[in-house]
């Protein structure tokens, strides 16, 4: 589970807060109930004690103390009712004390002889007694102390049950609430997941697509609408720049035609001095390079626009590589670079052979260009499960690590002056990249300065090829 997801975090917070609130509520309930119940019981004891003091003791006298005991027994039967009753004279002599209760809630013998009056809870070993004491005056003026108590056990039993209910109920409630919260949050966040999924699918090639809009009237609807507006603006700007490149390369063609035509007719005039001819030639070379750049830009803008290729068919990439290498071998021989072609036969792919050939031509041309005399260039086409892999490896000058991420960018040159001398405008690899994208192929480069580079192209094999190979 993704612990950083909004869903997880929301539910965790929710569960935490809920637990704290429930625990606090349970504690408050428990303690206030205990206090209320104890106070209530003590109040009862005190009332009963006053009753004894006001009725029985007030009518009694020193001489009738024994009759008092019998009267108390018959009126209150403390043993049966789990009560504790004790009458003490002012000098501390116990006049009456109830016996052990039948319920066994406490041991009366253990109840200490306490001084003073009031209500309190007394701990007696493993049980406790809620005891109230009041003063009483007999008819002959002698002073007594009346103590009435009851076992705290029923009260404690009640509280124990409450505690049990809380202990079981709280986790269950929290679990149910968390599960509900999880479902709710997921339902609320589900559109977010769909928006994210769709957003990942949208690239510069399908900018006309839009994110799903949830008509919920909430923040998510606003978010998806705003994102769609953003995509629209992106689309406008990208379309604008593509259109600009297409228009610019288009508009440059006519002046280039004129420049080229006029200069060519001048250059072929044999009456010119050698110097003038050289100058004209130099200008013409630049015009030609300009024309090549315009052509490359136009080719790129066409590839960007996703122009459907009319020559889409199934062919053997290994064979194409071999013939291309053969056609370029003289170029390598001329530089004293050895080009070796090493391929598995019958690596069938689908695509435009002319464009993929251009990829091979550009890669080989680069490799030969940047490999010093005596160096080696290796071209290989191999089959991997589901993929055709074309590699062009050279042991040339290599590409610095900081330049590697940029080699497929337009107009990028590793070293301006050197590359410029070698010709080209830094568009060759950009075209390679665009053609690869159009064929659903990946291209990557691995390089070490001074040891050479490897360009590796991975293209899905034509479907159903396994049956043939």
């Amino acid at each position: 589970m993704n612990t950083a997801s909004l869903n997880f975090r929301l539910v965790t917070w929710y569960a935490g807060v809920l637990t704290v609130v429930f625990v606090l509520l349970g504690a408050i309930t428990f303690f206030s109930l205990r206090q209320y119940l104890e106070a209530n019981v003590l109040d009862n004891q005190a009332r009963r004690a006053r009753q004894i003091a006001d009725t029985l003791i007030a009518r009694a006298s020193r001489g009738s103390e024994s009759a008092l005991g019998a009267e108390l027994e018959s009126l209150y039967s403390p043993e049966t009712n789990d009560r504790f009753i004790r009458i003490t004279r002012a000098d501390g002599t116990v006049v009456f004390a109830s016996g052990a209760p039948h319920g066994g809630g406490f041991d009366p013998a253990q109840v200490p002889a306490l001084a003073g009056t009031g209500a309190r809870k007394i701990a007696l070993g493993d049980s406790s007694l809620l005891l109230a004491a009041v003063p009483a005056v007999a008819s002959d003026g002698s002073r007594y102390r009346v103590e009435v108590g009851t076992s705290a056990r029923p009260l404690e039993e009640t509280l124990r049950r409450l505690l049990m209910m809380l202990a079981v109920g709280l986790p269950v409630t929290v679990a149910v609430a968390v599960a509900g919260g999880f479902v709710l949050v997921r339902r609320a966040l589900d559109p977010v997941a769909r928006i994210a999924f769709k957003a990942e699918e949208i690239s510069q090639h399908n900018l006309s697509e839009r994110l799903p809009v949830v008509h919920s009237g909430d923040e998510l609807e606003r978010l998806s609408v705003s994102l769609n507006h953003m995509i629209s603006r992106l689309q406008e700007s990208i379309d604008g720049s593509k259109q600009f490149v297409a228009d610019a390369s288009h508009e440059l063609r006519t002046p280039l035609t004129v420049m080229r035509g006029e200069l060519e007719s001048l250059a072929q005039d044999r009456g010119l001095t050698r110097e003038t001819r050289e100058t004209l030639g130099s200008v013409l070379e630049e015009v030609e390079r300009l024309a090549e750049i315009v052509e490359s830009l136009f080719a790129l803008s066409r590839l960007d626009a996703g122009e459907a290729s009319t020559e889409w068919r199934r062919f053997d990439l290994a064979e194409l590589a071999a013939t291309t290498a053969e056609q370029m071998s003289l170029l390598a021989t001329d530089k004293n670079v050895n080009v070796a072609c090493d391929s598995t036969a019958g690596v069938m792919v689908e695509g435009d052979p002319a464009r993929l050939k251009q990829v091979i031509v550009n890669l080989l041309d680069n490799a030969i260009k940047y490999t010093p005399a005596g160096g080696r260039v290796r071209l290989s086409v191999q089959r991997e499960p589901g993929y055709a892999v074309l590699e062009v490896t050279d042991d040339g000058i290599g590409i610095p690590a900081e330049a590697l991420p940029h080699v497929f960018k337009r107009f990028f040159r590793v070293d301006g002056s050197r590359s410029r001398e070698q010709g080209g405008a830094g568009l060759g690899l950009a075209i390679v990249k665009s053609i690869c994208s159009a064929h659903g192929a990946d291209i990557e480069v691995i390089s070490t300065v001074g040891r050479g580079s490897t360009f590796r192209l991975r293209q899905p094999l034509a479907v159903g090829v396994s049956a043939r190979s």
Partner: protein, 226 residues
């Protein structure tokens, strides 16, 4: 022979008309589509060269009108647009050939001549430039009676140059005719092949036939300076 050139860019039409007139063609120039349509209706032209982007009446519309009036005249289209779709579309509309700007004037002249020769073609199987003989059927090359062994690409290059002696071809044109479009921009391959060709065809002989015009390209001529 009379040619109609419909092109709104004055400098382009001047350049093309001048080059065509130098080849002894009579050239009428129209600078918009409507004017071009008037001229096309008034005369029986041997060939029409048409820019696609024209004011008043578009090149496409002009092309359609000429074809609808059932004229069998060959039409060469000049355009700055070069997508495959456009090409297919225009061939369907009745274009005979196609040139993308920026084109070399030499290329245009060659295409024009090729279109006009479409009728009765009498081409000798052996091309001769000075004492060089290129046999198109046997693919054999002799100079001064001596057999010269060439690789397939070297032969293709030499045959292309020998077919138009005295003309200078740009390296881009050579690439397009001898190699294929995948080699576009790889013009140094032409230099390498020309150098190899020279070592076989020119170096052993006192008279040099392969001509280099810097910035323009290469050609074959009976007396070429290096």
């Amino acid at each position: 022979m009379r040619l109609l050139l419909v092109e709104d860019e004055k400098k382009v039409s001047d350049l093309v008309a001048r080059a065509l007139r130098a080849e002894s063609f009579a050239v009428d120039v129209a600078d918009d589509g409507a004017h071009g349509w008037e001229l096309a209706q008034s005369y029986e032209y041997d060939l029409i060269i048409l820019d696609l982007m024209l004011p008043r009446l578009s090149g496409e519309e002009l092309l359609r009108r000429i074809r609808r009036s059932n004229q069998q005249v060959p039409i060469l289209v000049l355009t700055a647009r070069a997508t495959t779709e456009d090409k297919v579309h225009n061939f369907e509309a009745g274009t005979d050939d196609y040139l993308t700007k920026p084109f070399a004037v030499a290329e245009l002249i060659m295409r024009v001549k090729a279109l006009l020769r479409r009728g009765p073609i009498t081409r000798s199987s052996v091309l001769r430039v000075g004492d060089l003989e290129v046999d198109r059927f046997t693919k054999q090359v002799r100079r001064g009676g001596r057999r010269i062994e060439l690789t397939a690409k070297e032969y293709a290059l030499l045959e292309y140059l020998a077919a138009n002696p005295g003309r200078v071809f740009s390296r881009t044109m050579i690439i397009e005719h001898v190699w294929d479009q995948s080699f576009e921009g790889l013009t140094n391959i032409v230099d390498v092949y020309v150098r190899h060709l020279r070592s076989k065809v020119d170096d052993p002989f006192p008279v040099k036939l392969i001509r280099t015009v810097r910035g323009v390209g290469y050609g074959l001529a009976e007396s070429a300076e290096r």
